[in-house]
């Protein structure tokens, strides 16, 4: 009984896609703008690493543990590779692998989750219980065990993390899809005689996209944190490929000599995590329909 009187409201003029985007960006809070800038910068580094980085990722350019200088801003690592170059290449590896993992886990978890929500029945029950079992085991320990069994390769790493992570995506997709699937417009589509693909992609997916996109951002953070953790433990990305987690691990003893070197890749991890979270926060706030009062 409190809905606004829309009868008397004037017709809103349509904005073009570009005008809409500009308007949206203008309304973004500073944290979100900061987050987007950082993410854009990271992706830029990841894409153009060979052109930006002063040296290549595995090239030995001087003595081990050389101090920072004009030629090597962040100094050299334990076998004399340029730390700055390795941080830049690390962006490419860490982000690339994390992105691929999240994409795979979303295709598995998302499709199964939505399918179970729409069809219900025995398949839904089996999948849900299976996911419960998987989720009861801590991801890091489970991943360590599986990697030990399957062998340390990047393909294995991506696949194992994607499967483990897809359980979380499954739950979210299933629950959000379920709340949409019981709405009258889905029933109306069924009554019209629509087939499953239409019901899923035209009726349900557009309505559950905002939480899924937000989850994508958060999952991305978790995955690359997990990759960094696994690399730190020595089972993730293998040398000589540059990766922030293993870089922290390789130079960790330097911290006892008061050298900031291990903090640099760690800061790269932290900054990206914070940036993604800022953007996701804003996006969730935008799409949740909460009022932003001043």
């Amino acid at each position: 009984m409190t809905t606004e009187h829309v009868d008397i409201r004037s017709i809103r003029s349509r904005r073009t896609w570009w005008q809409g985007t500009v308007r949206l960006l203008k309304s973004a809070p500073p944290t979100a703008i900061f987050g987007m800038a950082v993410i854009a910068f990271y992706f830029f580094c990841a894409l153009f690493a060979p052109w930006i980085a002063p040296y290549s990722e595995s090239e030995i350019v001087g003595k081990a543990y050389e101090l920072p200088s004009a030629a090597h801003w962040f100094g050299l690592d334990q076998i004399g590779r340029d730390t700055l170059s390795r941080v830049i290449f690390g962006a490419r590896n860490t982000i690339g692998i994390a992105l691929l993992t999240v994409l795979i886990s979303f295709s598995i978890g998302g499709s199964l989750g939505i399918y179970s929500a729409v069809t219900r029945g025995w398949l839904d029950t089996i999948l849900s219980r299976f996911v419960d079992i998987l989720m009861s085991i801590p991801v890091l320990i489970f991943a360590l065990m599986l990697l030990a069994m399957a062998g340390k390769s990047i393909a294995n790493l991506i696949f194992i993390l994607a499967v483990l992570d897809s359980t979380r995506v499954f739950r979210l997709a299933r629950n959000t899809a379920l709340s949409v699937a019981v709405q009258d417009f889905v029933e109306a589509a069924k009554l019209r005689g629509e087939k499953l693909p239409w019901i899923v992609f035209r009726e349900i997916v557009p309505n559950i996209l905002p939480p899924l996109i937000a989850e994508f951002g958060l999952r991305f953070c978790f995955v690359f944190l997990t990759i960094a953790a696994l690399s730190f433990l020595g089972v993730g990305i293998q040398p000589p490929t540059a990766d922030w987690g293993s870089m922290v691990a390789e130079s960790k003893t330097l911290i006892t000599f008061g050298r900031p070197q291990p903090l640099i890749p760690a800061a790269a991890i932290a900054l990206l995590t914070v940036a993604v979270n800022f953007v996701v926060d804003w996006f969730l706030h935008k799409t949740s329909g909460l009022r932003d009062e001043k």
């Binding site: 829309v6 009258d184 109306a188 005689g193 309505n207």
Partner: protein
């Protein structure tokens, strides 16, 4: 001591309890503050009941809540003054307000089932405010609550408090909520559409109980509703609101007899619409001795037989749980029937939706109660109406667009609406789009499930008029499911009365709505509130006799 002295002055009947002067309230949306209440005065004396009526969006709930110094999140009081028993509520701190709320001012919400915590016994929740405010200790409060249950004529008043909210009916829950509000013997109760979600037969009991208890304790009340007949039973004085302004204010009887403003007159005048009944011989849909049940358990339909003549409207009436919506699900095939058969155009309909061919599906369309959930919020009007055109009739491109515009014109909207999303439409417009979607399939039968019950009275009238016009133009048959007798009177040719999954009566409108009645039909019809302020009193007297 000072506050005690004040309390006693307020207890004197006829003294002013609430005084609101020039109250202005604004709400925040689209980055701007919009006025919701544009300067309204309201004075309430002790023991007096004021009815606030108006359509949705008129600001009645907002004004009612403001009387307790509260605004919903996203709203603010931007002007005027609000005094409760001499105390300035706008200047009062949150703590002071909190101590008033629950103890001296109580609120009864529309949906009792959403307002109770499902995890606690009813008794715990009823006595909570009395205990927290230190009015009584737990034992005294429970004793008092049982006494209130008795006065509110709840069954088994000594034990009902031990139940959980889901174990009692909606009408009982609404009365328990009233008991909760009364537990501290407040000076003011705000009733916000307390009977809107109830069936008419239950509504009578709840109204009678609330009226009695308010009179007994000499409580002042603000009664918010959109139902004129209900407010006529409850209020001493009526205030009509529209777009946040006060349209008219008067004593109930005077107002009902002679409204002075045009808007009030139109409110009073609705439901002049009445279709002339006519009997049809050509049967379009015939439901024959049908049983249906959910997952093989309890039967929700038992031996149901309904005949729907072509080009006519058959209304199915009954309370919630009578099986009228299940009948619709059985006809559409969503709930396959377990016994009997359903014939459409003389051919047996396959019970299961999956077994029906596309052309059969096209001929039977459905319109839902709530257009909010019946329209996909992420699709434009073009997608919503265009899909059946494309799906059943294989129109594409410009031909499809032309057809969409034709349909928009048929439902009395313009082509400007084609790119709008449901969120950009009013309730009535959304329901029109639902109608257009059904119409787009060029159906023969449309099942209308409570299509007007979520709408304001004036909008209801427009929708009913539109449905009648479309029926005439396209020779449509309607199966019209509703609990609202006024709607039934307006639109039907024939009426089916259902009770607990069985058909009690089917016949022409004139037969069903005139005596002699079967007992249940009589109960149902007599429970429909009338615009006569003495209706409830008379009804209770006649039922007691």
């Amino acid at each position: 001591m000072k506050s005690d002295a004040k309390k006693t002055t307020a207890r004197v009947k006829g003294s002013t309890l609430v005084e609101m002067k020039g109250v202005k309230i604004e709400g925040y949306s689209d980055d701007k503050w919009h006025p919701i209440i544009k300067g309204i005065n309201l004075t309430l004396k002790r023991g007096e009941v004021v009815g606030l009526i108006g359509e949705s969006g008129a600001g009645k709930s907002t004004l009612g809540l403001a009387a307790m110094g509260y605004t919903k999140p996203g709203c603010r009081i931007s002007g005027g003054s609000i005094h409760f028993d001499g105390k300035d509520l706008l200047a009062a701190s949150r703590e002071e307000l909190r101590s008033l709320w629950g103890s001296r001012i109580a609120y009864v919400a529309q949906s009792a089932s959403a307002s109770f915590n499902p995890a606690h016994h009813l008794m715990d929740q009823v006595v909570e405010s009395a205990c927290n405010h230190g009015v009584m200790d737990r034992e005294a409060a429970e004793k008092d609550a049982r006494d209130l249950y008795k006065r509110l004529q709840l069954p088994n008043p000594d034990a009902i408090g031990e139940r959980y909210p889901h174990q009692v009916s909606g009408g009982q829950l609404q009365r328990i909520m009233t008991a909760m509000a009364m537990s501290c013997r407040p000076d003011l109760i705000i009733f916000d559409e307390p009977t809107t979600a109830l069936d008419v037969t239950t509504q009578v009991e709840v109204l009678a109980a609330m009226r009695r208890i308010v009179e007994e304790f000499d409580t002042a009340a603000i009664y918010i509703t959109h139902d004129l007949a209900v407010v006529a039973q409850m209020a001493h004085r009526i205030m009509v609101l529209r777009y946040g302004n006060l349209v008219e204010e008067n004593e109930t009887r005077a107002m009902l007899k002679k409204p002075s403003q045009d808007y009030t007159k139109t409110l009073w005048a609705v439901r002049k619409l009445e279709k002339k009944e006519s009997k049809g011989a050509d049967i379009a849909l015939s439901v024959q001795a049908v049983d249906a049940s959910y997952s093989g358990m309890m039967k929700v339909l038992e031996n149901v037989t309904v005949r729907l003549p072509r080009g006519r409207t058959v209304s199915v009436v009954g309370e919630s749980g009578s099986g009228k919506s299940t009948l619709a699900r059985a006809i559409t095939g969503l709930l396959p029937i377990s016994k009997g058969r359903i014939e459409f155009n003389g051919k047996v309909l396959p019970p299961r939706l999956q077994d029906r061919d596309r052309d059969t599906l096209r001929r039977i369309q459905m319109i839902y109660q709530s257009a909010d959930t019946a329209l996909n919020p992420r699709q434009t009007v073009r997608d919503i109406i265009g899909r059946p055109v494309e799906f059943y009739l294989s129109y594409t491109g410009a031909k499809k667009d032309r057809r969409i515009v034709e349909l928009l014109e048929a439902i009395e909207l313009t082509e400007d609406f084609i790119d709008r999303y449901p969120g950009e439409l009013s309730g009535g417009q959304k329901q029109r789009i639902s109608i257009a979607r059904a119409l787009a399939a060029e159906p023969e039968l449309i099942i209308c499930d409570e299509v007007t019950s979520a709408l304001d009275q004036i909008v209801q009238e427009e929708i009913l008029r539109l449905l009648m016009k479309l029926q005439k133009d396209n020779n449509l048959s309607y199966l019209f499911i509703t609990h609202d007798i006024a709607t039934v009177r307006a639109i039907s040719d024939e009426i089916v009365v259902m009770y607990k999954g069985k058909v009690v009566q089917q016949g022409l409108k004139s037969e069903v709505l005139n005596p002699p009645y079967p007992p249940y039909t009589e109960l149902l019809l007599s429970s429909v509130p009338q615009m006569d302020p003495d209706w409830l009193t008379k009804l209770l007297k006649s039922r007691a006799a």
